[in-house]
């Protein structure tokens, strides 16, 4: 019995302590979020364009600006135009958020600090200490080094 208990303790301690021993321990990659991004219209967050359009049809959602109540056909045309516009905007936003490597042009994946193809650092990390910038930072919050330009991570 005591031998089994000792073995159990050794296995558990080994499993738990191994990330501490490994010098190259890195954060485990987080699972991809399956939640779609929300859509904010007129101060209210909707889960999707479809939900906003449905709420608009039900007479509850705003159109972005307080407007006089539209007729049924106007409302339907407005929804169609809105849904198309919002989806284009979201697509453009998604594309523009993708940061590419300044040397080889390969897009960085979320969480990458270095280019997977050429090893060049991500433009959103500090060249001195490797900390990530936040949008709008002018100095590194970890080491205080100045950040050239207004790069976005």
């Amino acid at each position: 019995m005591s031998a089994i208990a000792v073995l159990l303790v050794v296995v558990v301690v080994g499993y738990v302590a191994s990330p501490l021993i490994r010098r190259d321990a890195k954060e485990e990659p987080p699972p991809k979020s399956i939640e779609p991004e929300g859509l904010e219209v007129d101060g209210v967050v909707y889960e999707s364009e479809a939900e906003w359009a449905l709420e608009r049809l039900l007479g509850r959602a705003g159109a972005g600006v307080p407007a006089a109540r539209a007729s049924r056909s106007e409302l339907e045309a407005e929804i169609e135009a809105w849904v198309a516009a919002v989806s284009d905007e979201r697509r453009r936003a998604r594309v523009s958020r993708r940061v590419t490597c300044q040397v080889c042009g390969k897009p960085f994946r979320p969480g990458d600090n270095y280019c997977a193809r050429c090893g060049h650092p991500h433009p959103g990390i500090c060249a001195h200490c490797g900390a990530r910038y936040r949008p709008g930072d002018r100095f590194c919050t970890q080491c205080g080094a100045a950040i050239a330009g207004g790069q976005r991570p």
Binding site: V12, V16, A25, G43, R60, G62
Partner: protein, 659 residues
């Protein structure tokens, strides 16, 4: 050896939980990913060890190892294996172990499913969860150890109490415990957000899902407990305002307020402080409920465990949480200030009033339950409040809540125009019609008629909204088919689920109010061949059979039920003598129809078995309580089904085609 393995696993789990909490906090403070990863691994290992302890206790119960005190006290050789396994949560120690196992499962799922942007919050949440696990493991290792050995092996055990040998009792405690344990996740995230100061809501969606799952599990647990009380206790009702029942209802009510506050936070960014306070409050009340079930503080309950020091430890833990989290909320109150409501007549305005009503209702029930303790402390005399107090307090608050539930679906976020408000005229018309019809028919008193009018308003308001959403969806399909394809599963399921649950709540309320529609009760002694009438039924005592079984003497009466000249049912209530408890336990017989239940219980049998005394009851609309309550299941499944993936895939496919 199995018991020793279980004890060792619990001790190791205690050490690991404390380590996980420390490593998570240090990992995030010192920015050491290795420490954070080690904390997550410790959390997973804790789950494995607690599972080992649960498996050990289960093995001991199934093997009937009577050298273990817990096994000796809760199973016997004549007990079936199913009930022997359910004895895992029939005792104070076992149920605490099941609590810890479910808590560890939640911690495991939380440590696996991380979002990308709120690492700090998640690390502190893991620490809070691990500390909670540590507290439970500490209680189990000290005052509530399930693996205590007897000096010698007993020949047979005491057995499970006959009242607990019912299918509802196999599912009721695990459902309650699952609800309590799942509420630890919103609590932990609230602590994580308060400590780290991150209130951006990145973690809100997943926590909302946890809150909903916990709410549904707790609701189902309460419903199954009510069903057990109805068919097993033999007094004819389903809710006795018993301290342990109330203790489970109070966190459920506050958890309902939490769900609504989270929805308002997600949509409008308002009620952040109250959502965090409600998340903490719900979990604290779950801890209080656990302590009420195992302490003798309130007393007088049908189903408390034997008093133990564990109950006081839980009260101490709850008090510590209140002080610590109260301080955190005060510390962060300036950062949590949200936008002032622009219009009172809006969805968030309705949520604010509804939440005040829900919390008020919960507080009233809590104060009523703890009243004997309060009066004992203040005036050295125990004064208990009865059904009349609870009925008088809950009735107006519940009706006000139902009124809001009927009108809220037509209100929009931020503002509501007059045309939307006019939609409430349809349910209002239905409510007035119901009121007038009930009064004209003299079917009930004015109070019950008013309750039915309000319930009709609530049900009709939600049904109308359901129909409007379906019609609007059909229109939208012709306007923007791709948007419908992308958003259908994700968007409308949540809406339909919410409306379904609301309709279910209205049905439950109708069933409860239905007790005022001519329900009757009588207790009568009958000889064989004699009849008694109740409501529209004639009940004839036809036969009584007796037999000796290993665990009990079984006495089953046969009753013919007639409506007019027609025989509509044969009921067989039982009155059994159990050797283990040296007493009689009644088995109720019920004839359920959509209109009413005929409820028959034997209360005594003459020694020569020629006469028997029966409790006969007619409970109007009773079956709707179970139907309405069970609507929690489809409603919650509809909301929680992982459709986000399908929606994201469909949206990506569409965007790809358009690009």
């Amino acid at each position: 050896m199995t018991a020793e393995a279980g004890r060792a696993a619990l001790l190791l789990a205690l050490a690991l939980a404390v380590y996980a909490a420390t490593a998570a906090v240090l990992g995030v403070r010192l920015r050491r990913p290795g420490l954070l990863q080690s904390a997550r691994r410790a959390s997973r290992a804790t789950f494995a060890l607690v599972s080992l302890a649960v498996a050990a206790l289960l093995g001991l119960l199934l093997r009937r190892d009577y050298q273990v005190l817990y096994v000796y006290e809760h199973v016997s050789s004549s007990l079936s294996n199913l009930y022997a396994a359910s004895a895992l949560w029939a005792g104070a120690e076992g149920s605490l172990l099941a609590w810890l196992w479910l808590l560890s499962l939640c911690a495991l799922l939380v440590s696996r499913g991380r979002s990308t942007r709120a690492k700090e919050v998640e690390a502190y949440a893991l620490a809070a969860l691990s500390l909670t696990q540590g507290f439970f493991a500490l209680v189990l290792c000290t005052v509530s150890m399930p693996f205590v050995l007897l000096p010698a092996r007993a020949a047979d055990g005491s057995g499970l109490h006959p009242l607990l040998q019912h299918p509802a009792m196999i599912c009721h405690p695990p459902a309650l415990l699952a609800g309590y344990a799942a509420y630890a996740v919103p609590f932990s995230y609230a602590v994580g957000a308060l400590v780290s100061g991150r209130f951006d809501g990145q973690w809100l969606k997943s926590v909302r899902r946890w809150s909903l799952a916990a709410w549904a599990a707790l609701g189902l647990g309460i419903l199954m407990g009510a069903r057990w009380a109805y068919v097993e206790l033999g007094w004819g009702g389903f809710w006795a305002w018993d301290p342990v029942e109330n203790a489970a209802l109070v966190p459920w009510l506050v958890g309902t307020a939490l769900l609504h506050a989270m929805a308002a936070w997600e949509r409008r960014g308002v009620f952040r402080l109250s959502a965090l306070a409600l998340a903490v409050g719900t979990f604290v009340l779950c801890i209080v409920a656990t302590s009420m079930a195992r302490g003798d503080l309130v007393g007088g309950s049908l189903h408390t465990f034997a008093p133990s020091r564990a109950g006081l430890l839980f009260y101490g833990y709850a008090a510590t949480l209140v002080v610590a989290c109260g301080w955190l909320l005060l510390w962060q109150r300036r950062r949590l200030r949200s936008e002032v409501l622009q219009e009172a007549v809006s969805r968030e305005g309705a949520i604010l009033v509804g939440n005040l009503l829900l919390v008020g209702l919960a507080l009233a029930i809590l104060v009523g339950t703890l009243f004997p303790v309060l009066t004992q402390a203040l005036w050295r005399v125990r004064i208990a409040l009865g059904d009349a107090f609870f009925g008088r307090v809950t009735w107006p608050l519940a009706l006000a809540g139902l009124l809001l539930m009927g009108v809220a679906p037509v209100l929009g976020w931020r503002r509501t125009d007059a045309e939307s408000l006019r939609l409430a005229l349809v349910p209002l018309g239905a409510a007035v019609a119901t009121w007038l019809i009930l009064l004209a028919l003299r079917a009930c008193d004015a109070r019950t008629a008013l309750a039915f009018a309000v319930i009709t308003f609530a049900g009709a308001g939600n049904l109308q909204e359901l129909l409007r959403a379906v019609c609007a969806w059909q229109r939208l399909r012709t306007l923007a088919p791709w948007a419908v394809e992308a958003g259908h599963l994700h968007t409308n399921r949540r809406r339909y689920g919410m409306l379904l649950v609301h309709v279910g709540a209205a049905i439950v309320a109708a069933s409860i109010a239905g007790q005022g529609l001519g329900g009757t009760e009588r207790e009568t002694t009958l000889q064989r061949g004699q009849s008694a009438s109740i409501g529209r039924y004639e009940v004839r005592f036809e036969a009584l059979s007796s037999e000796m079984l290993p665990a009990k003497e079984r006495h089953a009466a046969t009753l013919g039920v007639y409506s007019g000249d027609r025989r509509v049912a044969t009921l067989r209530p039982e009155y059994n003598y159990y050797h283990s408890v040296r007493g009689y336990v009644a088995e109720v017989a019920v004839r359920s129809t959509v209109r009413e239940d005929l409820y028959v219980a034997v209360t005594s049998i003459a020694e020569d078995t020629s006469t028997a005394t029966f409790r006969l009851r007619v409970n109007p609309l009773m079956v709707w309580l179970w139907i309405g309550g069970a609507m929690i299941v489809p409603g919650t499944v509809l909301i929680l089904w992982p459709g986000g993936l399908a929606a994201a895939w469909a949206a990506a496919g569409h965007l790809g085609r358009r690009a």
